[in-house]
Symmetry: C2
Subunit: 486 residues, 2 copies
């Protein structure tokens, strides 16, 4: 969105949290068609289920660059039996208590627990077959299709933790859109999808119509302790209650990162898409580490763990307040001798709430540098999501980014996205133009990681921001000012 930075929905950044029972109306102009989703951006409310799809259709008279006969929309998520408030307490405790893996993966809010649709195909068949009549509120949403058609499937992942792999048994899938941007179409058997990402894929119903087929979702990047999620692709006139005869798709090995990198590198912009500026005005290098602060476990960026202020940045900047946040510049890089392959020699970090002030319309490169976490031989996947902009993904690389790695940048047809992953011990290079007046979060989309401080804040063109609704700033120092005008 442009022109309405107060409608971004980020508590402490673009507005005050909406208190229980209060209403807040978001009004913004939708800039382009595509597959999106919305979710709560306070505490761990996304984990609690506060999310939904947001599909923007092409404008009247305009056409998508591909054709299809029908459309489905699947929002993917993960689910814990412990309430999100209990998870927050656990993560913020000393000693630290990890929330563990989700109990269930959900497709449009529906999943299976203690039973499996595909139990008869399980090798160690200790889980019974799920008994659904199909009409239960919790029954998996069956995708009903006609033979010999092309369908568009919109996929988005709002998982709190899980990185996912998606497959339709016996069907190829053609990727055509990523994060609301058309991509150069390519065909795969299965695909990864990280939290924060969205895709459109096309598939042809070119298989035996007397059968049904599995739709399957599995965990990537973490030793999977969560059963695969499943639903049914139902060919007409086959009965939707017929379980597929063939076994479900075999998920790639969870830690086969080369498999994941191959997929990520296939995503390129559609011909005719905007190209990145050939050079950058500013480069910010962000080292991702896991740290200790006063005995708590945190994630830090260049050794600073984000602790959001009481007064939203957008308000305190608009109102010209001092003291609402730290006006010192946060670190632009990390020590040159830091060994990203090992735990930090000194694991201590600090809290911070400073922001990266970007020159308006400047071209910014961000190098996300992954590293070893607190434990030896551990480095995790982090999908980083930028608010208010798309960025070009110039390259993914292994080890420590150096100036030499610029040679690997794809400046010809890099994909435009709003979320990009860093792989274990790797780096990811992004480029964007700071052309959207506002204050914007940039953070790991894994919700417990963000809760533990894994994010930074960018701001640009704040002098150009127009009127903001007072409703958005009724808390903290801005709230005090508004109250005393009355």
């Amino acid at each position: 969105m442009f022109g309405t930075p107060w409608a971004d929905g980020t508590a402490s950044i673009s507005q005050c949290a909406i208190n229980p029972g209060e209403t807040f109306i978001y009004r913004f102009k939708v800039p382009k068609a595509g597959t999106y989703f919305y979710h709560g951006h306070y505490g761990m409310q996304r984990s609690a289920g506060l999310y939904g799809s947001l599909i923007v259709d092409v404008a009247k008279g305009e056409k998508e660059p591909f054709q299809y006969d029908g459309e489905f929309n699947l929002l993917l998520s993960d689910w814990w039996h412990k309430a999100s408030e209990e998870q927050e307490v656990a993560l913020s405790s000393k000693p630290f208590r990890w929330i563990g893996e989700p109990q269930t993966l959900l497709i449009n809010g529906r999943g299976q627990y203690n039973c499996s649709l595909a139990a008869k195909f399980n090798k160690s068949s200790d889980v019974p077959t799920c008994q659904f009549s199909g009409n239960e509120q919790c029954a998996p949403q069956t995708l009903h299709v006609q033979p010999n058609k092309t369908y568009r499937l919109r996929l988005a992942s709002t998982t709190a933790l899980a990185s996912l792999n998606f497959a339709i048994g016996n069907h190829k899938i053609k990727v055509v859109e990523a994060d609301g941007n058309y991509v150069q179409p390519f065909v795969v058997d299965e695909m990864d999808i990280y939290s924060g990402e969205s895709y459109s894929i096309l598939f042809k119903t070119d298989q035996d119509p007397s059968q049904n087929y599995w739709i399957s979702l599995s965990v990537r990047g973490r030793l999977p302790k969560t059963p695969e999620a499943r639903t049914i692709l139902n060919y007409s006139p086959s009965s939707p209650s017929n379980l597929p005869n063939s076994p479900p798709p075999v998920a790639p090995i969870w830690n086969d990162y080369n498999h994941s990198k191959t997929f990520s590198n296939k995503i390129l912009s559609q011909i005719g898409s905007p190209k990145p500026p050939p050079s950058f005005d500013r480069r910010i290098i962000l080292l991702n580490t896991q740290n200790h602060i006063d005995g708590y476990i945190k994630w830090s960026i260049n050794n600073v763990s984000l602790l959001l202020p009481t007064t939203p940045y957008l308000g305190s900047i608009k109102f010209g307040l001092k003291g609402a946040f730290d006006h010192k510049k946060p670190p632009q890089t990390y020590p040159i001798d830091y060994n990203v392959m090992m735990p930090a020699p000194n694991t201590n970090a600090t809290y911070g709430n400073g922001i990266y002030m970007l020159d308006f319309n400047s071209t910014v490169d961000v190098i996300l540098q992954n590293a070893n976490a607190l434990a030896v031989n551990v480095s995790e996947i982090h999908p980083w999501h930028l608010h208010g902009h798309d960025f070009w993904v110039l390259a993914y690389g292994d080890g420590k980014f150096t100036k030499e790695d610029e040679k690997k940048f794809n400046l010809k047809n890099p994909p435009l996205r709003n979320t990009a992953v860093i792989f274990p011990y790797g780096w990811t290079a992004l480029r964007f133009v700071a052309n959207n007046p506002g204050v914007w979060a940039f953070h790991c989309h894994i919700e417990p990681h963000l809760h533990m401080g894994m994010g930074v804040v960018f701001a640009e063109g704040v002098h150009l921001i127009g009127k903001v609704p007072n409703d958005a700033f009724s808390c903290g120092l801005t709230g005090k000012i508004l109250n005393h005008k009355g």
Copy 2:
């Protein structure tokens, strides 16, 4: 307090909740000397430890009606190992999950867990003796006294759940103050103290000064699963690290309610205290029941479980808003044929947020009527606390209150208090003058019970309320009005 109803500190009633990181200044005139305490009044923050003592000294030139040589202040509380947020989630879950008994009783925030100061006196000595050097932050606070003196001990209970019994081994205690009001002094061996109550007691150091003595705290009214709390009364020149030679005081049996009633009935107002008006203008009968709402377990008053509104009553009334809460009158009594000795025939209740509007300066009688909870043969103790007023406790009775019971009212020297208990299957009659313009909570001071809806709201003289600070009303509908004035 008078004249500052916005400074009462009750979220949703007298003000908006103070959001994380925000400040709010309470400014009020202290009307009289006494022993008080303060605590958070949102969610279950009291259980989380958000409380402290508030001691008001007599004004210069004035004297207490008793003498003493030294003074101690003990704030009593209970402690769970599960975070209060987790407790809130459990209580608000379907199926309901009870929080269980506290792990520890605390004296000035200090307690013992998995060890006992008096282990050698325990019959089943499976718990080791606590090893304190005395300087630890968690070590019990020893009371150092000189022989042959009189000490004042201020006691207040801010427990979330536990009703308590307090004793000093080998010492008599003289009760002289209750809830900030002087009482007719009386002497006991031990005393009950319920959540919300405060007392001053006097004791003489008339025992063998070569010994130390136990100070002991035990649970009443619930099968005690929490060990007794202990600290040491240390006579000079005896070493504070000498544990007493005599066994700790024996606590009364937890369900000996006659014992408790005897104590409560001993509390009478000091000669010369204000007497209650001889008659009432309005009588409100409040039946206390445990109920179901949509499968959740709640507490209800006349079948209505309190669910507080988003906009604080005080603000919505001052601003003249409609629609911020239910303006229908809540029920004044309960069906005449209701059997308080049995579970309700229909256990379903409803949510409500209506308020009892009281005529200014009218005399109000409240009959708190206890009843059977959801399970057969269960009726619990509830200490009811009134904001903004003291009330006279006219009588405690058993069974169902009837007009005949008026004969039992003590109109001569009933104690003035702000908290009074209802005993299992009993009733308690209170009288107060609605002379304090404001909106006032009246509720069970057991925090999980209030969280489950066990309260009502009174309001009086709202047209007489002066200016209220806008800061108190920056949420909900009042917040919207304030923001749009800007």
